[in-house]
């Protein structure tokens, strides 16, 4: 495996630093507006919770043109006394530079892993650069389970609006849980903690010229940690609020990126997930508290229209993937009135499993296959929103739990059709 090549000035910085206990990586691309807050929160977190440890903040940038790297260099906490009673002993170093390799979050993370190896770091964390809700406590919650608790991987736990994170809630979480038997609630959360050893293990995998380097790094890190028997835990970080996403980001593209990465990992780890039945809880750190969440507006009529248009236009593809029986069920759903619309969890489970099987068997070009799932996913999401309209957060979570159990109970269907 070819390692990343650092620029001369980065080499010099690394040589000057020599060794570090903690590395906090911040991947970025044109995040000048928000990255200052993230860097300050990370600096405060390191100063407050790890004053005796040598720490380095690494900003791995994708070639921003808005001065993101300058913001990172110029950001510092002017008055630590306003945050801390005791000033930190070890200073925090900062390295900010454009990464090399194919553009994507995975390439940015690879550089963080390389630096962790070069500095022989014990614990690492990565946080998104567009976060608005990050606090210094996030650093403690992501790093301490590794540094003190002996865990290898820390996945985040957030409080989110019941309608948010629907790809996670209806596909990635139930599927990952049913496959690998670990209840990691936010497998694609984006903010993770991990040991230096796990960072080096990631580097041994030859995936840095694939879609993992482009967009599939989050699920890849989580799955690789679980499937290879690393000690996994979760930390409650509170609410996740980040900068508004680009409105031009296409849902089917998002779905393609997440789902194709998840299905690809199913191929890689088939021997590992096949014998697993049921699931077990993963320990969680952090004090859970209720978070006030903003109202989320949804247009279910428009969503159901997309589902029905999908049924009208993509019916032949769906029939081929789902089989005549389940496609008949989908047709029945298409005839329901908006108010009566309900996508049964058993049917949805089989839809996801059938798509995973079609992906495995190469029934269609990958992008066409996953994107053809979009109207089905939109229909399922609309059904959840209609059903959970008057539910509280806990009731909505109970619905997701039911779906997860369905995924676990139907796993034999997936296995028996996987050749």
């Amino acid at each position: 495996m070819k390692s990343a090549t650092f620029r001369t000035e980065v080499h010099e910085q690394l040589e000057r630093i020599g060794q570090a206990d903690i590395i906090v990586g911040i991947p970025s691309f044109n995040n000048a507006r928000t990255i200052g807050h993230v860097v300050r929160a990370v600096q405060a977190g390191l100063a407050k919770y790890f004053p005796e440890h040598k720490a380095v903040i690494v900003n791995s940038d994708g070639g921003s043109s808005d001065g993101t790297i300058d913001v990172v260099h110029n950001t510092s906490i002017d008055d630590f006394n306003a945050i801390l009673l005791h000033h930190r002993v070890e200073p925090v170093s900062k390295i900010a530079f454009p990464y090399s390799g194919i553009p994507g979050k995975g390439s940015a993370f690879r550089t963080v892993f390389e630096i962790a190896g070069a500095l022989d770091a014990k614990a690492c964390a990565v946080v998104d650069s567009d976060l608005r809700s990050i606090t210094p406590e996030w650093i403690e919650l992501l790093v301490k389970p590794v540094l003190v608790g002996g865990y290898d991987y820390v996945s985040p736990l957030y409080h989110r609006h019941k309608f948010d994170g629907t790809i996670t809630n209806s596909i990635v979480y139930p599927l990952t849980r049913a496959l690998y038997g670990k209840r990691v609630r936010q497998p694609i959360g984006g903010d993770f903690g991990f040991s230096g050893g796990l960072a080096q293990y990631y580097l041994t995998k030859d995936v840095w010229q694939t879609d993992v380097a482009r967009f599939g790094i989050d699920i890849w890190m989580t799955t690789t940690a679980i499937a290879n028997g690393f000690k996994v835990t979760q930390s409650f970080l509170g609410a996740k609020i980040h900068d508004a996403k680009d409105p031009g980001t296409d849902l089917s593209n998002m779905l393609f990126q997440v789902v194709s990465a998840t299905f690809e990992l199913m191929n890689t780890y088939a021997d590992i997930w096949m014998p697993i039945r049921g699931s077990e809880p993963v320990p969680a750190f952090g004090f859970e508290y209720t978070v006030g969440l903003e109202q989320v507006n949804v247009n279910t009529t428009r969503m159901l229209n997309i589902f029905r248009e999908g049924l009208r236009n993509l019916g032949e593809i769906w029939r081929d993937i789902l089989g005549a029986g389940d496609f008949g069920e989908i047709e029945r759903l298409g005839a329901l009135a908006d108010s009566d619309f309900h996508f049964p969890i058993g049917l949805w489970t089989r839809v996801v499993y059938d798509y995973a099987l079609a992906f495995h068997k190469g029934k269609l070009p990958v992008e066409h296959l996953i994107k053809s799932m979009t109207p089905l996913y939109v229909g399922k999401t609309a059904s959840f929103i209609i059903g959970a309209k008057d539910m509280g957060q806990q009731e909505a979570e109970a619905e997701i739990e039911k779906l997860c159990m369905e995924f676990e109970n139907c796993k034999d269907y997936l296995i028996s059709n996987w050749k």
């Binding site: 309608f163 507006n297 949804v298 247009n299 428009r302 999908g310 236009n313 269609l364 979009t374 999401t381």
Partner: protein, 234 residues
């Protein structure tokens, strides 16, 4: 009398000599045909076994070739049909070689023309196959993208894409085969130009209200989407 007999026997003798010279060529042709036939059967068998081993039939199902064949009244497996095509190609090549062995000037010219035409047939077949796969790929991409955007006429758009691409590909195939190239070019220009003009008239004049409604609906749907959907899917 002797002269008279010579007059009769000489042509017969000449005919016999010609026939004597021709018989080895005829035998050579028959042998070539026999070997060619056996070779064709053998190659067909190998091809079918190879295609079965690489699961060509399943691939054809996925690519839509099987459906296309069914529409054309071909009900055998795609691998068997391809095996049959290979068989007949070998037979035709054998037949041409056999005719060449006869060493008759008329057939020699025919055989020469046939062999110089083979590269064109091959490249035309390649254009047709690759073109069909690509047009299927692009029309499906259009169908999925348009459908996911909630566009009501996604299927029509995809079918139009497929048809236009196939027209383009067929024109390229005909041009490659040099079948009335000037007519093909003219027909292609007329059809392609006609479609564009028809669409322009339909939207610009005849269907102006419909076009306005479609555009308004799309714009309204987009603005609704921007103002109302605030879900974070990931």
């Amino acid at each position: 009398m002797e002269d008279f007999l010579n007059l009769i026997l000489e042509p017969l003798k000449e005919l016999f000599l010609k026939f004597k010279a021709f018989v080895p060529n005829l035998l050579a042709m028959l042998v070539i045909l026999l070997i060619g036939f056996i070779l064709a059967r053998f190659i067909k068998l190998i091809v079918v076994k190879f295609l079965t081993a690489i699961k060509f039939d399943s691939w054809s199902d996925r690519m839509g070739f099987t459906t296309l064949m069914r529409k054309g009244g071909l009900w055998n497996k795609p691998s068997a049909i391809l095996g049959g095509i290979v068989f007949w190609v070998v037979i035709i090549v054998t037949l041409m070689s056999g005719l060449n062995a006869l060493q008759i000037p008329a057939t020699d010219q025919l055989v020469g023309q046939f062999f110089s035409y083979i590269p064109r047939i091959f490249s035309a077949a390649m254009i047709l196959i690759v073109g069909y796969v690509l047009s299927g790929f692009f029309s499906r991409a259009v169908l999925i993208a348009a459908s996911n955007s909630g566009f009501h006429y996604a299927k029509i758009l995809a079918e139009a894409t497929h048809t236009l691409l196939m027209v383009l590909i067929l024109a390229m195939v005909m041009e490659q085969l040099q079948i009335a190239p000037s007519i093909v070019l003219a027909a292609f220009s007329i059809i392609f130009g006609g479609i564009v003009i028809a669409l322009a008239i339909a939207f610009g004049v005849g269907g102006i209200d419909t076009a306005r409604r479609i555009i308004e609906r799309e714009v309204t749907a987009k603005s609704e989407e921007e103002t109302k959907d605030e879900i974070e899917h990931i």
